[in-house]
């Protein structure tokens, strides 16, 4: 199987979906001639032309809103937010419009848009090029939020997002773009939205996380394995709506649960995961549910020591996992 990196999986998924279905098109800032500031749409402009790889004016509410209109008509737009941090001008379109179109029209209209956005820190991006924004959207029924961790998941889940008949926010970890590589089959495949995935089977402690933190947990688990601690790792993949059953099973498997996010702690996705576990797994738990998250300060800083203090890393994860194993 060929090994590709995370961003190549994005590009492949877009390209194959555009080949498969003429209604699929890409719109966003710099996505055309330049192929995107991260080069996620590299080569698409040359292959599909400027009508299907649309360089839009610099206006996020229009990128989302025009995409929503086209989706209601019957197109399959994939809108790119250049950075997740700059999705804020489009929040009204995403929450008031995309998420509610099916519901408010009593199923008369629907809105099959995919909105891609690179998120996450560790790239010297400071406050406004590092944020995790999923929690803002994670109590909006009607919307799905997908946050893949591996190239295999990126490709399969992005294809499913584009084919899905409801709006999907597809968040790509920008540090993972070139850092994370993995095998991706040449044959066509898709992966189901709304399903978490066990990234490692284990028996002593359970880690539930998503995005880049999955890799930190896998690295830490390898170290702990040598010390005789076996870690079970569940990758949420879709962070809204959550895969409750998978969370309950993973938590019950070891009775010791560590939840990890790169986002600020209070109000984050993992708080909801903790609630699901505490509602369902009281008698299975052997330790308090632990949360490892970013600090509750507005966002990540620029200077390296400051960024490091905020950003999740394998050492922080390993430390928390060891603490839990010893509980």
């Amino acid at each position: 199987m060929p090994v590709i990196n995370y961003i190549q999986a994005v590009t492949q998924a877009l390209k194959e979906e555009m080949q498969r279905d003429e209604k699929v098109f890409v719109l966003g800032e710099d996505v055309g001639v330049k192929g995107g500031v991260f080069r996620a749409t590299d080569g698409l402009y040359e292959q599909f032309g400027e009508e299907r790889v649309l360089d839009t004016p610099l206006a996020e509410s229009a990128i989302a809103g025009v995409g929503i209109g086209a989706a209601m008509y019957g197109m399959r737009p994939v809108a790119e937010m250049q950075f997740a941090d700059f999705i804020m001008p489009a929040v009204n379109q995403i929450i008031s419009e995309a998420a509610k179109i099916r519901y408010r029209s009593n199923n008369d209209w629907f809105c099959p848009i995919t909105i891609r956005a690179p998120y996450g820190g560790g790239v010297h991006g400071a406050l406004y090029h590092s944020q995790s924004i999923e929690a803002i959207f994670a109590n909006q029924p009607g919307l799905k939020i997908v946050m893949p961790s591996t190239p295999y998941d990126v490709k399969g889940l992005l294809k499913s997002s584009i084919r899905d008949d409801d709006p999907v926010l597809f968040l790509e970890h920008k540090r993972a773009y070139r850092l994370i590589k993995g095998e991706v089959p040449e044959e066509e495949y898709t992966l189901p939205l709304g399903k978490a995935d066990i990234k490692k089977e284990g028996t002593d402690i359970t880690v539930i996380t998503y995005g880049l933190c999955v890799h930190f947990a896998l690295q830490a688990a390898e170290k702990l394995e040598a010390e005789g601690v076996s870690t079970h790792i569940l990758d949420l993949r879709t962070v809204y709506p959550l895969d409750e059953q998978a969370i309950i099973e993973a938590a019950s498997k070891t009775g010791k649960v560590l939840l990890i996010t790169e986002d600020n702690k209070e109000g984050s996705i993992i708080g909801e995961v903790a609630a699901i576990i505490s509602e369902n797994c009281l008698f299975e738990l052997d330790a308090p549910i632990k949360r490892l998250a970013g600090p509750d300060v507005p966002a990540m800083s620029y200077a390296p020591p400051l960024e490091k203090e905020f950003m999740m890393n394998p050492e922080k994860v390993e430390h928390a996992m060891r603490d839990l194993a010893e509980f």
Partner: protein
């Protein structure tokens, strides 16, 4: 052309020049009248405690109907705002549909009783579903126009909003996007002088809302919103232009909001009765009726026939909708996602 009628007054036949037949202008007037009568009935139902909320198009029917008749009602898409009863009636929504919406009943085609009245949407008639936050529909209409261009279809999209709402980013972002990409969309601002209580002078500092068009490189015109023929002409021209691939247009129609903002508003707090009364003299429903009378199209007999008919239609719609069932409570769980 000049037409001398029996009362010795001279009224020019304006609609023929626009390519409108006598039947068409009568149908325009009838649609305006129906919108007004339904609206009036809704206020009565509201004051009688039967309909919780009414938001009114009174005073804007001429602009709405004039515009709708200039579109291709078999093909074009409309993204109306909450006062556009005239637009949705012209696009095929029925009095029963509107009353079902007013009462929030299960068979309301707009939302099955989920949304407040005035939140239109009906796919079979190409009426795009709308929401409450103002102006979000503008980029949607641009998206439909983008789809028309990409799919090489001949339809245009038409979107309306108030003058206060023309301050929202979505208007500016949508207008600019449409013009850059030369998309077949018509932006129509129904300037009724108020945004709830805030007068035009406190909304914008430019002389006309249509002045905003120049910033986006599209034509902008301001026309008398009480004159359905003037609106027809402007929208027709914009639609032709759009279909020729020349891009969007901005049309501002000047009229006056004859009712309070909604059934929950008391407009005596912020405007005088004299102002409202003098606006009523220019009410497009009456001035258009006068025109049609002067050219001998709208006869006494026709008027009384229509009065009868309207009463019947609205009585029927009211009774039908009032006695129709609500959706059952467990339906609130449905249609969050595709089933």
């Amino acid at each position: 052309m000049v037409n001398v009628n029996r009362r010795e007054t001279v009224t020019e036949n304006r609609h023929k020049k626009l390519g409108l037949s006598d039947e068409q202008v009568l149908e325009m007037y009838r649609t305006m009248l129906l919108a007004r009568r339904i609206d009036e009935r809704m206020w009565l139902l509201n004051r009688a405690g039967k309909m919780a909320f009414v938001v009114s198009g009174q005073g804007q029917e001429a602009a709405q109907v004039g515009a709708a008749f200039a579109l291709d009602r078999e093909m074009d898409y409309v993204a109306p705002y909450y006062r556009d009863m005239g637009v949705v009636l012209a696009f095929g929504m029925s009095a029963r549909d509107l009353m079902l919406q007013g009462f929030g009943k299960a068979d309301d085609p707009n939302s099955g009783g989920r949304q407040m009245p005035g939140h239109f949407g009906q796919k079979k008639n190409r009426i795009i579903t709308g929401s409450s936050p103002v102006t979000t529909q503008v980029p949607h209409a641009v998206g439909f126009a983008l789809a028309a261009k990409m799919e090489k279809k001949d339809f245009v999209s038409f979107v309306t909003f108030g003058e206060g709402s023309s301050n929202q980013g979505d208007f500016h972002e949508g207008a600019n996007f449409a013009s850059v990409h030369k998309l077949p969309v018509i932006f129509m601002c129904e300037n009724n002088h108020y945004a709830i209580s805030v007068p035009l002078s406190k909304q914008v500092a430019c002389e006309k809302i249509s002045d905003r068009a120049i910033g986006y490189g599209m034509p902008g015109v301001t026309i008398d919103g009480n004159d359905p023929l003037a609106v027809y002409e402007a929208v027709k021209e914009a639609a032709d232009r759009a279909r020729r691939g020349e891009g969007p247009s901005l049309i501002e129609t000047i009229s006056y909001r004859l009712t309070p903002h909604s059934s929950d508003d008391d407009d005596r707090i912020y405007r005088g009765k004299e102002e409202v009364d003098s606006a009523k003299e220019k009410d497009g429903l009456y001035t258009f009726a006068s025109y049609l009378r002067e050219i001998n199209l709208l006869t006494k007999e026709l008027e009384s026939k229509w009065d009868e008919e309207m009463k019947e239609i609205i009585d029927d719609a009211t009774d039908f909708a009032e006695s129709a069932p609500y959706a059952s409570p467990e339906t609130i769980y449905r249609h969050v996602y595709a089933e």
